[in-house]
Subunit: 241 residues, 2 copies
C-alpha cells in the first residue's frame, strides 16, 4: 500500500491539468491563453498560475515570456493530448459501460485521468471499440497524439438560414447539459437558424431531433456552447411563413 502521492519523475496531476487546460482553451477557439483565463478555468488564484507557468517552462512544456500569453511546446502538446485522450475515453466508458448520464461524467473523468494506468486506458479503448469521439462529441486523440477536429462552428456564429448538425457540445457546465437533454437536444440534432435577435437577444431556430421539427430559441450561453457542422444553406425563409 504505497502512500506516496505521485511517482517522482512523472508529471504531477497539477502539471497534467494545467497543460491539458492550456490545450483545451485553444482547441475550439483560438484566443491567446492568458494567466487569467487559466486561473478562471482552473479555479485558482492568478498568482498560482504564474508560479506554475514558470515550472511548466522549466519542464519544457510551455514557451513563455513574462506578461505574455503562454503556448505549449511540442512536448507540452504531446502531454496535453495524452491527457485529453484519457479524459475522453474515460467519459465514454462511464456513459457506455457504467450508465452515467452525459452531464455526470466530466468531474469523475477529471480525477480519474490522473490515476489510471496506460494499460487501463488501452484496455478501455479496445473494449469500447476504439471510439473516435466522447459523449459530448469531442474527438479522441489516437495513442500517437493525432486528433482531427470536425469542421464545426459555434452556433452563435451562424447567420439566418444556415442549417447544421450538432457535432459537439461543451461539457463544462453539467446544468447546461441536463437542460439540453431535457429539451431532447443532443449530438446529431439538426438546427436551422430562423432569426438572430440583436443585442444579446435569442437565436430563433427550427430544430429536428429525429422526432419531428419544432421551434427553439437559444440564449447566449447556450449558442456559444453548441458546435454545429454545416449541412448546406437552406432558404431559411421558406420555413418562416
Amino acid at each position: 500500500m504505497a502512500a506516496r502521492t505521485h511517482p517522482p519523475g512523472s508529471d504531477s496531476s497539477s502539471v497534467q491539468d494545467y497543460v491539458k487546460t492550456i490545450y483545451s482553451l485553444s482547441e475550439w477557439r483560438t484566443e491567446p491563453v492568458t494567466s487569467s483565463r487559466l486561473a478562471a478555468r482552473l479555479s485558482v488564484a492568478n498568482s498560482s498560475v504564474s508560479e506554475m507557468i514558470r515550472k511548466l517552462a522549466e519542464l519544457g512544456l510551455v514557451a513563455h515570456k513574462p506578461y505574455r500569453p503562454v503556448e505549449l511546446t511540442a512536448e507540452g502538446r504531446r502531454l496535453a493530448l495524452a491527457m485529453v485522450r484519457r479524459h475522453r475515453l474515460l467519459e465514454t466508458f462511464l456513459v457506455q459501460d457504467l450508465g452515467y448520464r452525459w452531464d455526470e461524467v466530466h468531474d469523475e473523468a477529471e480525477v480519474l485521468e490522473h490515476t489510471v494506468s496506460d494499460t487501463f486506458i488501452d484496455r478501455l479503448d479496445a473494449r469500447l471499440g476504439f471510439p473516435s469521439a466522447d459523449p459530448h462529441g469531442d474527438p479522441i486523440p489516437t495513442p500517437e497524439g493525432a486528433i482531427t477536429l470536425p469542421d464545426a462552428r459555434p452556433l452563435d456564429s451562424f447567420d439566418d438560414g444556415h442549417a447544421g448538425r450538432v457535432t459537439r457540445i461543451s461539457d463544462e457546465d453539467p446544468q447546461l447539459l441536463r437542460f439540453l437533454a431535457a429539451e431532447d437536444i443532443g449530438l446529431g440534432s439538426v438546427v436551422t437558424v430562423l432569426a438572430r435577435i440583436p443585442f444579446g437577444g435569442p437565436l430563433q431556430t427550427r430544430i429536428d431531433t429525429g422526432a419531428g421539427p419544432r421551434d427553439f430559441s437559444f440564449g447566449d450561453e447556450l449558442a456559444r456552447s453548441i458546435w454545429v457542422e454545416s449541412v448546406g444553406e437552406h432558404a431559411g425563409c421558406s420555413l418562416v411563413p
Copy 2:
C-alpha cells in the same frame, strides 16, 4: 478542471491508506498494529507514521497511547472497510471486465480506490453481480460495512494429514501470484499436507487443482501467504505409501 488535489473535509488519500492498512494488518492475523509494522507496510519512515497516527487520533479514526500499538475506532473501522470495499471491487472489475491478470490488479486498485466516486463503486458492484470476494479470495464488505471472513487458516499452520481448499491468497507480492499461476495453483485448489520438514524446511503436499493430483513443496513465504479452508482430516498417511 479542478487543480485542487483533494476536496477539503474529506479524508486525504494518505489518511485513507493508513486506516486501511491498520485494518488489513489485523484482518487475517491478530498481532498488534505497531508503528514499525505500519511503516514497513506503507514503505514510509517510522517518524512519518508517528506523525500520521497523531493526526488520525485527532480525526477520531484511531485510539492511541504513545509508545503503544494503535487501534481503529468504530469510525476508523467504518472508513477502513469502505476503502477495502473499494479496493476489492476495483480489483474484481480489472480482472473480470478489463482482462487483467490477478497479479496486476493490486497496484492499480491501490491508487484508483482514492479517486473513484461512490457512484462509480455502486455501478461497478451491480455490473459485477455483487461479488462476495475479490480475485484473491478476499471478502468484499457490503456497502454498510459488514464483512464475513471465511473460516480459513494459513497453510503454514496445518499439520500432517490435514486437507483444505485454498480460499485466499495474499495479493501483496505480484511475483508470488505469478509463480502460483504458473504452477496452476489458485483459489479452489485442494491441498493435503503430507509432511512438515522442521527448521524452515518445505511443507510437502499433494495438490489437486482439478486436473489430477500432484506433489508440491511449499516454502516458508508461500505457505504463509495461502489460506486454506478445512475440508476434513483425511488420513494423510494413506496417500504416503
